[in-house]
């Protein structure tokens, strides 16, 4: 973990130098892990497809062609068509976009909320800490997926409600993590020195505590994004996922389960791409964990 000296202009310069070399060391550790590098390449491609996908898709995601329904792959439909005559290739390109939007916005919202509340609980202690941790315990006591289901039933199956549901159930993990890290440092010499120099609690949190927990938080976020990808697809498995005609990996995989015996191409691409993507995200997260926090983890 990087060391951040307490104060002073020269020390500040030194801090930047330390941080740069720490980043470089982390990067060289990351590169040494071939799976993490391969995963990163795929994740990068996935993001790229998510950004340009809607422009390069040959058909619209709601564009049907009943005459070509359940058609095997052809030049016009490189991944075949589904039972409504949607072009699977375009469906997948749009799915990548929507899946990424949901996962990233939900993870970032949960991350921000969890970080702020966790920092607050850890620094404030007392009643705030007790109350917040009770709420966190509540979220950990039962599988969050069920609360997601209830929230989606209540607020609808659009992008917004799904992001909201994932964020509401996702922040507790980040809050618990950062609170634990802050508690470990709160009474340490660094915070004492900062206080002695007149640093306000907010300044202490932002300037001294956050930089020391940021690598752990990044690792948690890297594990959180594939988690949100999985849960949003899993909502589709019980029929509560993103509302059609918006395409999603969950809908495609769940639909393929019903009729792959006749039309296997409906399964190959969505399930294959989805599985490879989750695996890549996990390799990246694991690589980050080893690179940023070589002492922790397995």
């Amino acid at each position: 973990m990087m060391e951040v000296p307490a104060t002073g202009a020269p020390a500040r310069g030194a801090a930047i130098a330390t941080r740069a070399s720490a980043t470089r060391r982390a990067w060289s550790r990351y590169r040494a892990n071939p799976l993490a590098v391969v995963g990163l390449i795929w994740v990068f491609l996935f993001f790229l497809l998510g950004i340009i996908g809607p422009w390069v898709a040959p058909h619209g995601y709601a564009q049907t062609n009943y005459l070509m329904a359940n058609h095997p792959p052809t030049w016009a439909y490189p991944m075949g068509t589904d039972s409504l005559g949607h072009d699977m290739f375009s469906e997948i390109l749009f799915s990548i976009r929507f899946a990424l939007e949901i996962a990233i916005f939900a993870s970032l919202a949960a991350f921000t909320l969890g970080t702020v509340l966790g920092l607050w609980a850890g620094l404030q202690g007392g009643l705030v800490d007790t109350a917040l941790m009770r709420v966190v315990d509540f979220f950990f006591a039962f599988p969050a997926y069920f609360l997601d289901l209830i929230l989606v039933t209540k607020f609808g199956r659009g992008m917004g409600p799904i992001i909201f549901a994932l964020a509401i159930t996702g922040w507790a993990g980040y809050a618990r993590l950062i609170r634990g890290l802050v508690l470990g440092m709160r009474d340490g010499e660094m915070v004492e020195a900062a206080r002695a120099l007149g640093s306000s609690p907010l300044h202490t949190a932002a300037r001294y505590l956050f930089p020391n927990v940021v690598s752990n938080m990044l690792i948690a976020l890297a594990f959180g994004i594939p988690g949100d990808l999985t849960v949003q697809a899993a909502l589709s498995v019980v029929g509560m996922g993103l509302n059609p005609p918006l395409p999603s990996f969950g809908n495609m995989i769940a639909a393929a389960g019903g009729n792959i015996l006749g039309y296997p191409w409906l399964l190959y691409w969505p399930a294959g791409i989805f599985a490879v993507t989750l695996l890549s995200f996990l390799f990246v997260a694991d690589g980050l964990q080893e690179a940023l926090n070589p002492k922790g983890g397995y």
Partner: protein, 321 residues
């Protein structure tokens, strides 16, 4: 603190959490557009009954009004709902108003519980030796293959695996195991394999990590120094601590598995709690939906309690708090 007091404290906290889940669900559903307990929603959940038999429909409507105390203030409704659920008096479902929910659960619950427990046992049976092998061959090609495979097992959700297995055993090599339905022991094979795969990864990684950690301890060096054969050092000294720690993994794994049964049941068309739950959510059958969630959560919390208790019993150094 005594075991009994700890048990009591945990039971109270479980009751509190589950009541909060029930109350929250009820309030959310109450404030849904038009309220789920309104005549319009009841009518849509009960399908065509309104047209077919207006008299029967009206009597069901009265039954639900009385049941949920819809003319009472909201806080009374919530209290009554929570109390009814906690005393396992679930009432009737919207879709199938003539049959109490309890009757529907009686066949569904054992199926889901059996799948969940079966897959945990299978995961332990497979994951434990794999983890030991990985730890004893650490930093070799065998270790990296096992570690990578177990990561892959954790990353691929059981519903994706389930769809792939349906394809493999339905199209490529049909006739080996059934890919659909319920009734014979063979029907349980694929769902249990799907559910176990993720946990095999968890158990393997955990076992590997904790055994490597245990082998680094001073008492292991002492045992080796005094001439205990390596095999005995591993099995008698290092393994004992790893095994106790393995119990703690089962709690989170079980929660994960219970959610997995919901997915897998839907894909393999198994008439368990998960299929009941998805049908209820899709058809706005709120009483059945919340009840299935309630039972699945109860299953998870009960298992967590068991895990904590057995951990405390196995390892007297851990003080219950």
């Amino acid at each position: 603190m005594g075991l009994l007091r700890y048990l009591l404290k945990r039971l109270v906290s479980i009751l509190g959490t589950i009541s909060a889940v029930l109350a929250l669900s009820y309030v959310l559903m109450h404030y849904a557009p038009g309220s789920f307990f309104s005549s319009a929603n009841l009518a849509s959940a009960m399908g065509t009954l309104k047209m077919e038999n207006a008299h029967l429909y009206a009597s069901y409507l009265r039954m639900f009004r009385d049941r949920y105390g819809l003319n009472l203030p909201l806080w009374r409704q919530v209290l009554e709902y929570v109390w009814h659920s906690l005393s396992f008096n679930f009432g009737n479902s919207f879709q199938n108003p003539s049959v109490p929910i309890m009757v529907q659960l009686r066949t569904a619950f054992p199926i889901s519980a059996g799948l969940a427990f079966g897959s945990i046992v299978l995961a332990l049976i497979i994951g434990f030796p794999l983890g030991v092998v990985a730890a004893l061959h650490r930093n070799t090609w065998l270790d990296s293959v096992l570690t990578t495979l177990s990561m892959a097992g954790q990353a691929i959700p059981s519903f994706v695996l389930a769809v792939i297995l349906v394809f493999v055993f339905g199209v490529w090599i049909p006739g080996v195991v059934p890919v659909n339905g319920w009734g014979t022991p063979a029907n349980a094979v694929l769902p249990i394999v799907c559910l176990a795969t993720g946990n095999v990864g968890v158990v393997t990684r955990y076992m590997r990590g904790s055994l490597i950690e245990a082998l680094r301890q001073d008492y292991i060096r002492t045992a080796e120094a005094k001439g205990v054969p390596y095999r005995a050092v591993v099995w008698r000294h290092a393994m004992r601590n790893s095994l106790t720690a393995l119990v703690t993994v089962i709690g989170p794994s079980f929660a994960f598995t219970v959610v997995g049964t919901v997915w897998v049941e839907n894909i393999f068309s198994i008439p368990g709690l998960g299929t009941l739950l998805s049908g209820a959510f899709v058809n706005d059958d709120i009483p059945l939906a919340i009840t299935s969630v309630f039972l699945l959560c109860l299953m998870v919390m009960g298992m967590n309690l068991l895990v904590d208790l057995s951990y405390a019993l196995m390892n007297p150094r851990i003080r219950l708090e």
